[in-house]
């Protein structure tokens, strides 16, 4: 087997891997064809859902079992011999989370230009990773991000960097944990929607596959599983989009084709904005919003009157021996009536806002920052920039992505690996805006204007999946029997899952898309859980509690911790906390504010010392958290208490500069770092 001396890659190894994955892709294509044939033969939809879910989970488990290991280097950094291209593919799967795969296209559908901040932020951040952090981490060649910070800054007992390590571990765990809960939540959602199992059962099914994989083989197993998962999610995303692209633009390459569709969509939007029937529906929503506003204004009398009214309706229905359905409806109206005046105010204000939102004409999809006034437009631009900033700097500080820099054979391979990572991410991310425009055009032209008696089946299917919060709702508001755009509402999480049906593809493609969403969530969860358990076992247990532990014991402890963390995360996810995208965005701001300043200054500024690093991490974190608590209504703050009108989600825009500033000022006020620290910086900067 020949080894390239410059890159450290064994050629035979690379060839062997490529052959394996080509075979795998071929087998997967055969599997798709087989399921498609079974569907033709009349296999029920539910079975197709089961088949995709269990086949892919079993596949990941098999890869996990094949790659099982108890060797420390294999377990933590996959033996440092993953070739750049495969490392890039695995990192891309690690990176593309449930939020990217499932919710991002839907977010773009609803937000138009504003949603592109996520595309820009989640790709641009890799420039920072490639230029400022990854190669230097690889040169350092240890196991975790806290390892690097502790060695660089030192301080604490014996100069081993205990306090810096502890803070970095805390940040790693907090960030990764928020993020992993969102992934496991998505696993439960997909499993329950496509197979009809209970949400919590779905969570624990997904958990089982995550555990078999990362528990047995650590980084080595998850790397090779993630490559397999990437292939599935790429195929799952491209097939329905290419189909829509051929349908509407006669061009199978959606990234190129949607340019010709965008002007048509804009024209259709203008047409709908001036349609009198649309205006009629919007006026009705405005009337409903005014009704709620009037009831809020008349509190507390309106609450009592409403309650009496509901009671009277129920009594009347019973007295006149109305149908069971009517009595049930009257009963439900009474039981769901707000319990107190305060509850009524919250609920009615919510409903007023929801109705107001639907009373607004749709915003043109491609227009940047539409706004009534120059100030309103500027505020949207500033928030766009702030979100991009947070996502970029957060990307450059996410521990589960950075620890990938350790797994390649050389520094050069790490640089190339970041290139491949972004390349493989872009195959999906450049398709997302295309999918959005194609799906929007399809809905605006074929659904809007169609007859209510001939609604496509996907509408009723998705409308009935979650009765409490309908994912799709469509109702004939103005009673003309024709679907108006304003009568149709869709949840961001549904668009991608429903795309195959919107485009009129067979159900097997829907199953494939669900499997893709599952792969995206599972691969990210794998990486995150490993980041957490490595921080606990390697940094806390081995480096801080028991430095004399044998390698065997270290790996065993790591596996046990992984198990514990996975179960805690699954439990938290089963409690259904806030929605996926907002959780993830908060994690990015916190990661960027806490870790980015110390990582970058650690490489590029020799003068940064451990006191500066400690205060910088604490300040960055505190500023970011304070701003979120202050300005986010979901966290008990007040939405009006913002600084410069920046949304709480983009708190990192204050946290990152605060962190950088503190590291610099405090370092300059305190003594220089030790000579060992300067020597280490020279070492990581030097070429191999």
């Amino acid at each position: 087997m020949s080894t390239n001396p410059a890159t450290g890659v064994k050629h035979g190894y690379f060839k062997k891997l490529s052959r394996y994955y080509l075979w795998y892709t071929g087998a997967f294509a055969l599997f798709l064809v087989a399921v498609a044939l079974l569907e033709q033969e009349g296999m029920p939809r539910l079975w197709i859902g089961y088949l995709f879910m269990f086949a892919t989970i079993a596949l990941y488990a098999v890869i996990g079992v094949i790659c099982r290991t108890s060797n420390v280097t294999e377990y933590y950094v996959a033996g440092r011999r993953v070739p750049a291209m495969f490392n890039g593919m695995a990192t891309a799967a690690d990176w593309i989370s449930a939020a990217s795969f499932i919710s991002l296209a839907g977010g773009l559908y609803l937000q138009g230009f504003d949603g592109l901040a996520f595309i820009m932020g989640w790709t641009g951040g890799f420039v920072l990773v490639a230029l400022l952090i990854a190669p230097y981490l690889r040169k350092f060649a240890q196991y975790t991000v806290p390892d690097f910070l502790a060695a660089r800054y030192g301080g604490g007992a014996g100069g081993r960097g205990g306090p810096v390590r502890a803070l970095a571990v805390g940040a790693t765990i907090l960030v990764s944990f928020t993020y992993v809960v969102a992934q496991i939540y998505a696993v439960g959602l997909i499993a329950s929607r496509f197979t009809g199992v209970d949400f919590s059962v779905g969570i624990f099914l997904g958990l089982a596959s995550i555990l078999v994989c990362s528990f047995l083989g650590g980084m080595r197993a998850i790397t090779w599983t993630q490559v397999a998962q990437y292939i599935i999610l790429l195929v799952a995303f491209l097939i329905p989009t290419m189909w829509l692209s051929v349908k509407h633009a006669d061009n199978p390459i959606p990234q190129v084709a949607y340019g010709s569709l965008l002007p048509k969509l804009t024209a259709r939007e203008a047409e709908l904005a001036n349609d009198p029937r649309e205006a009629q529906v919007r006026a009705e929503f405005l009337r409903r919003a005014d009704g709620y506003a009037a009831r809020v204004a008349a509190l507390p009398e309106s609450w009592e009157a409403g309650k009496l009214d509901a009671q009277r309706q129920l009594a009347a229905a019973r007295a006149r021996n109305a149908s069971l359905l009517e009595v049930r409806q009257a009963e439900r109206a009474l039981t769901t009536y707000p319990n107190s005046v305060d509850d009524a105010r919250t609920l009615w204000l919510e409903r007023r806002d929801a109705n107001l939102a639907r009373a607004r004409p749709p915003e043109p999809h491609a227009q940047p920052f539409p706004g009534a006034t120059q100030e309103a437009s500027d505020a949207r631009r500033n928030n766009f920039l702030a979100v991009v900033f947070c996502l970029m700097f957060g990307t450059a500080a996410l521990p589960h992505i950075l620890m990938r820099a350790y797994t390649t054979p050389s520094v050069h391979e790490t640089r190339v690996s970041v290139f491949w990572t972004l390349f493989f991410i872009l195959l999906i991310y450049l398709t997302i805006p295309a999918l959005t425009v194609l799906a929007k055009y399809d809905i605006y032209t074929s659904l809007v204007g169609s007859d209510f008696s001939a609604l496509p089946t996907w509408i009723s299917y998705w409308a009935n999946v979650d009765k409490a919060n309908p994912l799709i709702s469509v109702a004939d508001i103005n009673g003309d029997g024709i679907v108006q755009l304003a009568e149709f509402a869709i949840d961001a999480d549904v668009l991608v899952l429903a795309t195959p049906e919107i485009g009129g593809l067979p159900y097997v493609i829907s199953g494939l898309v669900a499997a893709g969403g599952l792969a995206a969530a599972l691969s990210t969860a794998d990486g995150l859980l490993l980041a957490i358990s490595n921080a606990l076992s390697h940094d806390v247990y081995y480096k801080m509690v028991e430095p004399g532990a044998s390698t065997q014991k270290r790996v065993t402890i790591s596996k046990l911790l992984l198990l514990a963390v996975a179960f805690i995360a699954a439990y938290v996810a089963s409690q259904k906390p806030a929605d996926i995208l907002s959780l993830v965005a908060a994690a990015f701001s916190l990661a960027g504010s806490t870790l980015f300043p110390v990582l970058v200054l650690g490489v590029f500024w020799k003068r940064a010392n451990h006191i500066g690093a400690i205060t910088g991490m604490v300040t960055g974190f505190a500023v970011c958290l304070y701003y979120m608590l202050r300005a986010s209504p979901a966290l008990g703050g007040n939405a009006l208490e913002t600084w410069f009108g920046i949304l709480p989600m983009a708190a990192g825009v204050f946290g990152v500069p605060a962190g950088l500033f503190t590291v610099v000022v405090v370092s300059l006020l305190t003594p220089r770092p030790s000579r060992a620290s300067a020597g280490m910086v020279d070492y990581i900067r030097a070429p191999e």
Partner: protein
């Protein structure tokens, strides 16, 4: 495989004063060039990313292949520039590393 303590760079077999000076010079030169290139690429990244968003409303008037320019930049352009920057960086750094090793090679 490096183990836990950070390994000190080993010098060539004879720890000659001249070689040490040469090594220091070559390293300083390598680092200086790395830093300059990183800075340049970051400037490009900053203008294409944040610059086009800041002037998005003005740029929306221009059109590329059917897209308004600002929409194209946000949806594809900025990301494609990023991936190009990373490719150029990896390629140039390999050149710089080779130059370094050439400078350190024993002279005839």
């Amino acid at each position: 495989m490096p183990t836990d303590p950070v390994p000190e760079p080993t010098l060539a077999s004879n720890s000659d004063q001249a070689i040490r000076v040469r090594l220091d010079q070559a390293r300083a030169r390598h680092w200086e060039r790395t830093r300059r290139m990183s800075l340049l690429l970051l400037a490009v990244w900053l203008t294409t990313g944040f610059g086009t968003v800041f002037f998005a409303r003005e740029l929306a008037r221009f059109e590329v292949f059917g897209w308004p320019l600002s929409f194209y930049m946000a949806a594809q352009g900025a990301s494609l520039v990023s991936v190009t920057i990373i490719a150029i960086y990896a390629w140039r750094m390999r050149r710089l590393d080779r130059d370094f090793h050439a400078a350190m090679a024993p002279r005839p």
